[in-house]
Structures are given as structure tokens and as C-alpha cells.
Symmetry: C2
Subunit: 245 residues, 2 copies
């Protein structure tokens, strides 16, 4: 795909990302409705001034603390996550090698899983280490193939990072008793509200921040002073200010 986005365009990064997402649909990696979800995220990121808010830094620090204390920490990858940030997801795993990467799709087909695993491997993941091809577990109370996952991954995990997650699945994971860390630009989404820790930030900014935090943080259990509802309240106030209202 040839593009003519000048480097000095004020929105060059955002425009290049749009092109990459469009190409990922053409390659069968991203479901077309994933582009609509991406657009929703863009709108909320615009209200943040396309910058990581301090509240996301707090959430990232708490996420790193919880992941370091986890028995089976997992980072879930879907089509949009891989298309936007396969390299950054692999870097999180390199920073914290116990972290399991698993491809989990809403619109699951074996071909899409295979193609996405291949992209994550091409981005540097150890060959054969990315789960998702052979699901052997179902998330309870969740219809359709989006319930499928791996016991060695999401199924048996105690702490999971779910970037750009579907609200139903996020709620089902919380109902299973897992500690859920969401990365979601919409602080009003069911995912953002249901998760224990919500990183309200754009993915290619959030994942490197998480990788950095994992290298330096100490492990910690749930029940500290972190208050996700307060984090969400403050980030919503920040977006309201971004509306200039």
C-alpha cells in the first residue's frame, strides 16, 4: 500500500495508523468492524490530546505490580491489538518473560488465529510460544466461539491483561474471579468499568509504559490503595476538559 502522508503532517501518526488498520483488514487480520472500534478509540484519544494521561501511569504501575505477583499472567491479543501493536506486545513479554501471549478473537476463525500468531512471531515472539491455535477451555456464560481459549493461557490465568476487549468477555473474566487489567480508551465502556485496573491510553503508548514498569516494579497483591473508580473519574474529567467545555 503506497501512501502519501507527509512526515510533517500534524496528524501523521494517526493517519499512518489508519492506513495500517485498513491494510490489516485487507490481509484478513482485522475484522471490518474492528475499524469502527478503532475510530471510537480515536475520538476518545483526541479528547486526551493524544497523550498519556497521569491516570494511565497510575494504572500501569498497578498493573505491573499485579502481574509481578501473578501465578499465571496472560496478555490477550485480538486482531486490532496485533495490527496496532504486535511489536509492543512482544516487548512486554520480553520485559517479563513469565507473561503468556494468547490470541483470543471475537470473530474467531482458525485462519485468522493462524495469521495473527504468525504476525506476533514475526514481531519477535519465540516460535511456538503464542497460544490460541488449539483452544481447550471455554469461558463460562459466554456464547459463541469468543468463549474459546487455552487452559495454559486465559483459561487458567489468575491475572490477565485484555487490551481493546469486548465488554461481555471482560465481564465474564471478572465473574470467573480473575484479576482483569483492561487497556481501553473509552472510560465509559463496560470493559473499562468492569476491569479491576483500567489503563485509559492508546495501545502503542500503553504497552511500552507497561514493559518499562514491569522491569522496575515490585510484586503486589490486589487490595492496595489503588482506586480504579477514582482513576476513571479523573480521566473522564480530563476528557471533559479536552472538550473545552
Amino acid at each position: 500500500m503506497t501512501t502519501n502522508i507527509p512526515d510533517d503532517h500534524p496528524r501523521a501518526a494517526s493517519l499512518r495508523t489508519r492506513e495500517a488498520m485498513k491494510d490489516a483488514v485487507a490481509a484478513g487480520l482485522v475484522h471490518p468492524t474492528g475499524l469502527i472500534a478503532h475510530g471510537r478509540g480515536e475520538a476518545f484519544d483526541y479528547l486526551l490530546g493524544e497523550r498519556t494521561p497521569p491516570e494511565a501511569r497510575e494504572a500501569v504501575a498497578e498493573a505491573a505490580r499485579l502481574l509481578r505477583a501473578a501465578k499465571q499472567p496472560v496478555l490477550s491479543l485480538n486482531g486490532n491489538v496485533v495490527a496496532l501493536a504486535a511489536r509492543q506486545a512482544v516487548a512486554v513479554q520480553k520485559a517479563f518473560p513469565r507473561l503468556v501471549l494468547e490470541v483470543n478473537l471475537f470473530h474467531r476463525t482458525p485462519e485468522r488465529v493462524e495469521a495473527l500468531v504468525a504476525v506476533v512471531e514475526a514481531a519477535g515472539a519465540t516460535k511456538g510460544s503464542v497460544l490460541g491455535r488449539a483452544p481447550d477451555f471455554r469461558i463460562p456464560n459466554l456464547s459463541s466461539d469468543r468463549a474459546l481459549c487455552s487452559k495454559a493461557g486465559l483459561g487458567g490465568s489468575d491475572v490477565v491483561v485484555v487490551p481493546l476487549e469486548d465488554g461481555d468477555r471482560c465481564q465474564a473474566l471478572v465473574a470467573m474471579g480473575k484479576t482483569v487489567i483492561a487497556i481501553d480508551l473509552n472510560p465509559l465502556s463496560r470493559t473499562a468499568v468492569a476491569a479491576h485496573v483500567t489503563i485509559v491510553d492508546e495501545l502503542t503508548r500503553a504497552l511500552p509504559a507497561l514493559a518499562a514498569a514491569l522491569k522496575t516494579s515490585s510484586p503486589g497483591a490486589v487490595g492496595g490503595t489503588y482506586d480504579n473508580a477514582d482513576v476513571l473519574r479523573r480521566v473522564k474529567a480530563r476528557m471533559a476538559a479536552g472538550l473545552g467545555a
Copy 2:
């Protein structure tokens, strides 16, 4: 395309629209990046509670007044507009028969123009009445084929309605001295800010409201008491309240 969206789903309308947009991409009517734009709109509509705000009613009333006073009123149609609201666009034209419908595309190909004109005709427009197939005019200071339009349409118009318009083209139309009425869910967009009248509402709600207003309003010139900056300020405050902040 078969879907399984239950009628009683709280977001059934929004989910059906997503499916329709996806199908419109598959049919070559909508450019893939149009899905991203649609998602951005969804986010802002969410902040409105997916309801027409009073500010949009004020803008619609002013738009109808200006259109009734126009010499060559035009309603511009792009891929997203046709995919979302071809029927509603035709209904505006039926309510106000002097209104010219013209297909204007950012990513213009003769095939896409042809396909979109066919959809608008199938939605009830008089055969041969929809402009766009044979552009004979260029909007000044606008690069690429998105500058192409018709003298009997956008080119020679004095008052234009541009739903879901590109910021550059909106600014270029304003610079030509035209009176520009935008329909845009993002009150911060360059289009929303540049237009003389900005209807901040979802298209399938805004166009029927415009059709109704055109049937009853009196013509009026620019320069009344309508204050678009104030309308935008109030709708932004409403969205900020929608953030619960």
C-alpha cells in the same frame, strides 16, 4: 449478510448500522477508512446519549431558513452518507424539491460514484437527477480528485449541506464564499468549527429533522441571531456532562 442481532438488544440500532457499514465496504460503496470515521462519530454520539440535543434542533431550524433563501441549494453525498442514510437524503430532497443532490467523494473513482448514484436512485431519487458522474468544476486550493464537482451542484451553489465532510474541503467551500451547513457529530472537528451552521447529530436523526423543518420554515438570510459558536459551546458542555465528569 445474515446477522443475529436481537430486536430487544439495547444497542440494536447501532449494531445494525455497523453491519450495514461493513456490507457497504464489501460492496465498494464505502472506503475502509470510512469505517474508522464512523467509529469516531459513534463515540461522540455515545456522549450525547444517542439522542438529538436541543442545539441540533436550533441548527436544523437555521439550516432550513438558509436553504429556503438559497439560489442553488445543494446536499452533498459521500460514501458514508449514502450507506447510512440514502433514504433520508432523498426524503430531504422530496421535502424541498429545489435541493440538488450531488455525490462528492474524497477517494473518488468513477466506479464508486456510479455505484453511489445508483443507490441514491434506488432509494427514490428521480433517475438522472443526482449529480456527480460528470464533474466540470474544481474547488480552488484543494489538491487531488476530491476537488472535483459539478457547476450545477456544489461548484455553483450558494448554500451547501455537507454531512460527514472532510475538514479541508469544508474550509475550501467556506473560503469560496459559500454558506456551509455541516452535519458532524464531532463538535471539535475542523469541519464543525469552519461551517456557518453545524448540526451536531447522528445523520439518520438529523436528515429527517431537516426535511421536517424545510416543510414549515420561512426563508432567511445569513446574519440573524443564530450563533454557531455558542451552539457548539453548549453541545460540548452537553457531551462533557455525558462523560459524567
